[in-house]
Symmetry: D3
Subunit: 239 residues, 6 copies
């Protein structure tokens, strides 16, 4: 049972996109499972063993569980089989919240996982064995919440539903990404765009979250602090 | 000193748009001041006395302060004088959060107050007496947060930054609006659109908030409840 | 030969989304055929027989023809075979107007049918037997018009091309949906969002239609009534 | 009493933007009044007498009434006085539908008239003499419909609510514009953009209409012709 | 080695969409290769031989290379095999810039090629033989730039990143399209929409280019001409 | 006669928003005039003399001319008089390109100058003395190009028409801004958002430009370098 199941195409995708927020959630006591659809291989610089070890190290650093599925790096397609494999991971971890890629960008694996994750959340709740005979050995589960992250080299959709300030977590996020040393010369800040997203809310580093439909807040206290504080305003110093 | 200063063109504007959320904020201990730019008169059905009495009654019901400025209903314009009058109200109440109209819709008073409120927030922080001699008898104040509400008969911008579920407060919001009995046959639900906004987050009644720039959330706990709860998911019952 | 061919993934999709408008079109003498890509099974609460009987009952209530294709509920994919099966339905019914899902939302079947319907409209007009040997036993047909409906739990795209007021048809629409009693506890109003769409045009219940490209109206008479009426204006009563 | 009151900043604005549609409406028996906020002078090539004579000639060609207000070309501002003058025109002609500029583009007069027309529609319905003493010698009127046209050299908003095919009226529209011969070397097609808008609906020439809020259609018959026609489809001739 | 690799679903797609710009680029010395994913057959009016001959003639007219892949007209799907075939074309021609379809519109082949081209650009750079055994007999290549063109009968996305004025090339573009005489009665201007796009920049004919992410210009000289020219302004002749 | 007239509300606005690009344009030989609508006073930290001296120093650093108009900081309104004063500056400098604020954000001065600059460009071309008697002692001028810059603390519109990489100019831009030492503790990078805009095109620092209507490029050479270079691609190093 996990509070959050964070799904990505390759080991390090989830960490690059939302690693800072996951660190913050762990600090606050939430359980997290990372689900990498592939082992990320083949690449010029890795092997399956290396990548799995790195994924484990990153999960350990995060205090998260980790699962690596059998899909092929570079060849992930939105198939029924892939949907089922991912749906089983949803059933196994019974998350309250699924994090998965926002379907933008030109990377075919990311686009495929975006569609797979939507389908897997839905497949995981199906309650009747259908006529195709697949074994659904785990009880059904409906994850009530889903949020999306952006992982593309170009910023196609600069209007996320909300952002989380990770300035405080940023040094630890860098350590987290350093677990993936076989991919070491990747410009992870470029992919993560933390400074870019931070600018949208006036902080140094942030991570962005997208969402289908409206966003609900319980009240306006997030803009206010505790009642009657009344001290966050200040005399202006200039135009 | 108020946590929230809610600015509208006419008495009842703020209550129609965000009365449910204000009730919720009062319940949670936040202080609220309503600022009506005009007394709402003349109208076919009221008098200045009636409208002021109603505005007071509504404020009492809300447990809020209230201020009625001297601008003329139907003839509110974005002038320097009007900006200053509203800026003085900001200085007087020193709010952490300003609520004001989102500049859409065809009503000239609402459009004017939208611009006035932006300017007043800015004017309220000016620290040096300028060469025009106006008395700025109150110390400067910068309200650190501003949110916008929608008050138009047509839904021009159906993508608010977030929504607040007011299903629980809805009966009391109706009582609040009933304070404005001289305007009694106005279709307030039509203007408030609470059922419409509710649909965007899957609840019966909601109020919508707009915002310039990005929205920051402290973490993802609003989607999760307390850590480890892990029980909000459920077996699906159907496709 | 049908005036309208309304395509959906599962029996009841089309009725939920645009049943009120179809009732209205039937009242005005237009012929309608419903085309369900699957029989909607398996579900926890139905059987193929039940679902087919319900689909027939709904079609009878509507005075429409009905066709249930062989695709599998939950596993509809955009394949060449599925395109051809749907294209044959288009050739068979030779519609002037095709209604199909707008490609938004997270339901994989709806997304697949959205793409299938676009392809089927196109495949139906192909005039030359290709090199793959499939039998195209019916003459080609090009449906000159296509409109899209929204069927998603979250309102991802709140800007339809136009809406149809179904306030008058709404009680009959509820009877129509009651034909699907095996799925009885589904919150069909939630999916149909008729009250939500109604708000966009100031009526109680409406259905929404989306469209690629611009919308053509023959003139402005829809905003005017018959010439010289000149009586639809009225003295204002307030604000 | 007019079916349509078409408001523009200068004589020829309305004719350039929606002259074809107005011709069509006249052919169908609707009454039209043109309201030019200014006489269009001074310009390098005209005089007040010339412009008024041209405006009269254009109105005669259209079979429309015409009113020229006292605002100054190039210096139109959104003032209370200008709102009242335009509101009196609304009260005088009691239109069902107001046509006015969509508030885009860089021309200050067009932007001002866009705001003035919104305010005038609203002012025209006010029923109680206010405390400013202005004479409202005509009974109040609420024009129930308002549509907007685009008149800017750059296409800032290429997504109109709908378009009207004026291919048939186009030669007569050119004759209509030829009434403004003192401004003869203006590239009216450039401003009117009829060929551009036509492309959005696949016809040679169209005019575009914008709208706040949703668009309501009575049913889908506009996409179908009379019931059972079933002949507008056709065998495709190529991919 | 090509400066530009222009990818389309069928022979003539690329020429219709961006033929004028390709003529311009050839005039300026850039090398171009056309890559048609299919031979465009079967169609009612052609044969493989005819289409290949026409594609060759068009390429000759353009001074471009041409490659016709083995995908099937009307049945192009986003498969691994198709991605690899297209990726080999990218490796073979080593382009600096790839042109491919923008993923809008209802034509299934165009949508498929849009996704294939994105994937092929990515596949072409993979450096390690994967575990599936396919022969990657050519060295890897990363095309640093990609732009998209619009080829749909309805204008779904009227906001291209930029446009290229092809008024001067337009007569030659018509000659280029005339190479495809077997498809002769196709309304190519309708598909190309050159007059429509031209209107967006105030010229007679233009072609439109779309792009993921931001557009970089080296400076503002494109709006200025050579320094100090200062003569492109002019006395205004009228409002 | 200036190639570029850059208009802002206060001294340093233009330099903050587009100072890097202006440095680049000066390096390439273009002439620039800065036009500050006010002297920026009063502020807590300056005097008219200081601000003028700083504005001069900044202009000297840039190699630009400078003009400071008489409008009042904090009280700039879109009046006829202000339009005329700005229009005279346009006539005096006869620019090919005007740079002015994009009308977003909550700062009333910036919004006013945005409208003033549009009107001034238009007023500057009027050729006939109107009936108001104002002296237009300079010959008329039409600036053929206009671009807009963003100067707001919140990024309301994250989709500029294009961006200019100013990484190389960035150190000099900082020196330029240092000329405004009386306002020294202003967080200019926050306002300039150069790192943010840079991210949209994959460089360290950029400035953003907005535009009404479409953007025209002469060809695709900006994406290619000189013909036949063919060397900007590269072997990929990783997924």
């Amino acid at each position: 049972m996990a509070d959050i199941l964070a799904i990505g195409a390759h080991p390090d995708d989830v960490e690059i996109a939302v690693g800072g927020t996951l660190l913050r959630m762990r600090d606050r006591g939430y359980s997290v499972v990372l689900c990498h659809a592939s082992d990320g291989e083949p690449t010029p610089r890795g092997s399956r063993e290396t990548r799995l070890a790195e994924a484990q190290a990153a999960a350990r650093f995060l205090g998260a569980g980790v699962e690596v599925l059998s899909l092929h790096n570079r060849y992930i397609m939105d198939t029924l089989e892939a949907r089922r494999e991912l749906a089983l991971a949803v059933r196994k971890h019974r998350p309250t919240l699924i994090l998965s890629p926002w379907p933008v960008g030109e990377h075919p694996d990311h686009r495929a996982v975006a569609h797979l994750a939507d389908a897997a959340r839905f497949y995981a709740k199906l309650t009747k064995t259908d006529d195709r005979g697949e074994p659904w050995e785990l009880p059904p589960w409906w994850a009530p919440e889903q949020l999306y992250y952006h992982l593309a080299s170009a910023v196609e959709d600069p209007r996320p539903a909300f952002l989380v300030d990770i300035t405080e977590e940023y040094p630890r996020k860098q350590q987290l990404l350093a677990c993936y040393r076989s991919q070491g010369n990747v410009d992870m800040e470029r992919l993560a765009k933390n400074a870019f997203w931070g600018e949208l809310i006036g902080v140094r580093y942030a991570e962005a979250f997208f969402r289908r439909g409206g966003l609900s807040l319980p009240d306006l206290s997030g803009f206010l602090g505790p009642p009657g504080r009344g001290t966050s305003g200040s005399a202006a110093t200039r135009m």
